[in-house]
């Protein structure tokens, strides 16, 4: 079969994880990094060949009646609990997983390459823990690739957890910094909470449908849904609950409101990691999950509406916060949240009513398209941010300003990324965002306008960041630091590659490749929507240019005018404080304290009492153990006499 070698896609990163983790210390840092990067390059090559074979191959019945079939390359029984409850492991290739293979391997390879420079100091000496870093990167790549090729929802769950673990490990990479530790714990706990719902959702779903398998579920989504027909819980059908729970799991990974709080903090990790995990790949796992179960969601409009509302709200909310953040990585993080919410919304506005699933799947296609382009330009932006941070040793944009003169390549790459995300033609973001907007208008004008506003805000805050970093005023070189400059080739090359992709990715006729049902979908540019969205983006950019291109008083004036709003947004509308309040004041104080008290005083107390009694009893009888053999004999003898006397009394009487 043509896809026999697809197992290598998983095997190589897994092997590299073990190999670099176990042998890396012996090998030396530089070699570890180079070996990891080369192995990733091989994986990249295999991923590309698989994806290209999948998309362009015509033999072996890959395309039947214009419908691109999904291919089950591997399918092993892993755990057989009962006849029906079988957990399988395998590799499933269909349009979205093939596309994800490209995205993940590209970004991962470029991040591997970029990290060679980023994780070293100015003189090219690798940091402490270099081998650990590369081994974790390989682990993450393995988990993420395993996630996208999962054949069943259970395998997906396992890899879902594994990306969570590797994300945790990489956020906490600088384990000596308390902020990184807190951030990693936060990310782990929040996503784990969401995964709990995911697991419950899986259980409900597979309890009623008797299968974990995606192919079985997708083959007849109607019958899967009707298997729980009539079963309701709190007024909603059981399937709606299951899908909502699964969506919560995805929302946790994809940082949807209100589970978004971990993502900005996750920026404590190394910046290439942020680019790989928290911008391009792992955070879209939630989107991927919903896309994977799309035929089910589309039939269950209740769950779909939840996705729509959550997505649309998160998009606006995160965009508003991104407008005022001063830490460039955090601003980018909120931008990521906003863009992922965009994809969720795009998925949610798809429908099968009216035109049928094929035509209604425009949102689906647009969402996947945006996922692809966003991964590219957001990784580009993050890697640029990494290069800048590496150059000025700070995250705060007040320490940057005017870097354009010193880092021209980075500046241009960043500008391309900004144009792409703002949706200016002919950059990648324009096409995908345009299709999302079209899909939203088709659903209802309200959502179209809403998303257009978000698009305007996106353009505004991205250019705000851009101007604050590269223009605004002259850069002040700090005492004792040399002037910032463009980085070595391992760091600039990924930027250039991604910039080129961001320029041309939008021209890919995505509808031919990735659609709901595998049939090619003709897309036409909807001119009114396109022109209006470009106008909105230009307004946003213009506003940003007016306010931030040259140093002026306008931002400060606006800030003092809307002080309350500004402070609220800067503090992320106090969501973290709310969580803090709920967890510390309510859960810890009202629930955990009494439980802890009970545990400490009643349960431990009983055990301690027993132990204390034993101890005091031992102390009391310790005197008897005098070491004097005569007292032992005396006691023994008297005991023997007593026994004899008792026996005799019994016998005689």
């Amino acid at each position: 079969m043509a896809f026999d070698f697809s197992i290598l896609v998983l095997a190589i990163p897994l092997f590299m994880f073990l190999f670099l983790g176990l042998v890396g210390v012996k090998m030396g840092k530089k070699i570890t990094g180079v070996v990891g990067t080369i192995a990733m390059g091989v994986t990249l090559f295999i991923c590309y060949s698989i994806a290209l074979t999948y998309f362009f191959g015509t033999d072996q019945g890959q395309v039947v009646n214009g419908v691109r079939q999904s291919i089950l390359a591997y399918d092993w029984n892993w755990l057989t609990f009962t006849d029906k409850l079988v957990v399988k492991l395998g590799i499933l290739l269909d349009p979205i997983s093939a596309m994800m293979l490209i995205v993940i391997s590209t970004i991962s390879f470029l991040v591997h390459l970029f990290s060679l420079g980023y994780m070293s100091d100015e003189y090219g000496k690798p940091e402490k823990g270099f081998q650990r870093y590369y081994s974790f990167l390989a682990l993450f790549t393995f988990s993420m690739l395993g996630l996208v090729v999962a054949t069943n929802i259970f395998q997906m769950f396992i890899f879902f957890e594994m990306v969570g673990v590797s994300s945790y490990l990489l956020i906490g990479f600088y384990y000596t910094s308390p902020a990184a530790i807190h951030a990693s714990k936060k990310a782990f706990i929040v996503t784990r909470l969401a995964d709990l719902f995911f697991l419950v959702g899986i259980m409900i779903l597979s309890y009623y449908t008797d299968t974990f398998d995606f192919n079985a579920l997708m083959a007849s989504p109607e019958s899967a849904l009707s298997s729980a027909h009539g079963q309701t819980f709190m007024g909603c059908s059981v399937m709606a609950w299951a899908l909502t729970f699964i969506f919560i799991g995805g929302a946790g990974k994809s940082a949807m409101y209100p589970l978004h709080i971990w993502l900005p903090d996750a920026m404590e990790g190394p910046t290439p990691v942020s680019a790989l995990i928290h911008a391009a790949t792992m955070v879209v796992a939630g989107v991927f999950l919903v896309a994977r179960l799309f035929p089910l969601y589309v039939l269950e409009q209740g769950a779909m509406n939840i996705v729509l509302v959550v997505g649309a709200f998160t998009a606006l909310y995160a965009a508003a916060i991104a407008c005022v953040q001063s830490d460039i990585k955090r601003a980018l993080a909120f931008s990521t949240i906003s863009q992922i919410a965009y994809m969720m919304t795009a998925l949610a506005v798809s429908s099968n009513v009216g035109e049928g699933i094929h035509e209604g799947g425009l949102g689906y296609m647009a969402s996947m398209f945006h996922l692809f382009t966003h991964a590219m330009f957001k990784a580009l932006l993050f890697l640029c941010a990494g290069a800048i941070i590496h150059a000025v040793h700070s995250n705060e944009n007040s320490h940057m300003h005017g870097l354009h003169k010193y880092m021209p390549i980075t500046s241009i790459a960043f500008l391309i990324g900004c144009l792409a995300i703002a949706g200016i033609p002919p950059f990648a973001g324009f096409f995908s965002k345009d299709e999302i907007l079209v899909a939203c208008y088709e659903k209802s004008p309200l959502w179209g306008v809403w998303m257009a506003i978000v698009a305007g805000m996106t353009a505004f805050y991205m250019f705000r960041i851009y101007y604050l970093i590269f223009h605004w005023k002259k850069h002040e070189v700090k005492e004792g630091h040399h002037a910032p400059h463009d980085m070595q080739w391992t760091m600039t090359l990924p930027l250039i590659i991604l910039a080129v992709i961001s320029c041309v990715a939008g021209l890919i006729p995505f509808g031919n490749f990735v659609t709901v049902d595998g049939k090619a979908l003709e897309t036409h540019t909807n001119w009114p929507v396109a022109i209006s969205s470009v106008c909105i983006a230009l307004v946003g950019i213009g506003l940003a240019t007016k306010m931030y291109y040259k140093e002026n008083k306008l931002p400060a004036q606006l800030k003092s005018k809307f002080n309350g709003l500004w402070t609220a947004a800067y503090n992320r509308f106090y969501m973290d404080e709310l969580y803090q309040f709920i967890t510390h004041k309510i859960i810890f104080q009202k629930v955990c304290k009494p439980i802890a008290w009970f545990d400490r005083h009643i349960i431990d107390g009983t055990m301690n009492l027993l132990a204390d009694m034993t101890t005091s009893a031992s102390f009391a009888i310790r005197k008897l153990q005098s070491g004097s053999i005569q007292s032992y004999v005396l006691v023994y003898f008297l005991g023997a006499i007593l026994l004899a006397a008792v026996t005799m009394v019994i016998v005689l009487i």
Binding site: L634, F637, L638, I641, A644, A645, M648, L652
Partner: protein, 171 residues
Amino acid sequence: MDSVGNMIIYAIAAIAIIACSILAVTTKKILRSATYLLFALLATAMFYFQMDYEFLGAVQIAVYAGGIVVLFVFAIMLTHKPGKDAEPLTSHKRWLGIGAAVAGAVVCAVALFSYGKFCCAKLLPGANFDIKEIGTALLDTDKFGYLLPFEAISILLLACIIGGVVIARRR
């Protein structure tokens, strides 16, 4: 207890046993204590002879009186300076000892006077065992044979020899 001669021999042996035992545990000089032990053991041998167990009496004299007591004397000579008395006992400990001894004696005496009537009976003329029969019985394997205990004792003695050497050896 038919003849007066036997009676006299019994009386002498019994009085010797009682007196020597008491003296052995009360005298202050340890060497004297060992000597009284010797006499008590010899008197015991007399009992055995009187009960027609000549072999056992001979063993008693040879092993106990001849071997063990000599061992004691050697040990005393090694560990004591001559002429040094034992320290006086505390009354507390003496009363404990007397109490334990008397309690034991009382219990045994009760048992003795309840069941031990046979001791006052006339000594039956026992089957007169000669050395040959004893030897045969010792190395026999049938119902009344003692080969196994005999061998076990021999191994025990061997172990004792080795153990004694190991313990007493200078490090």
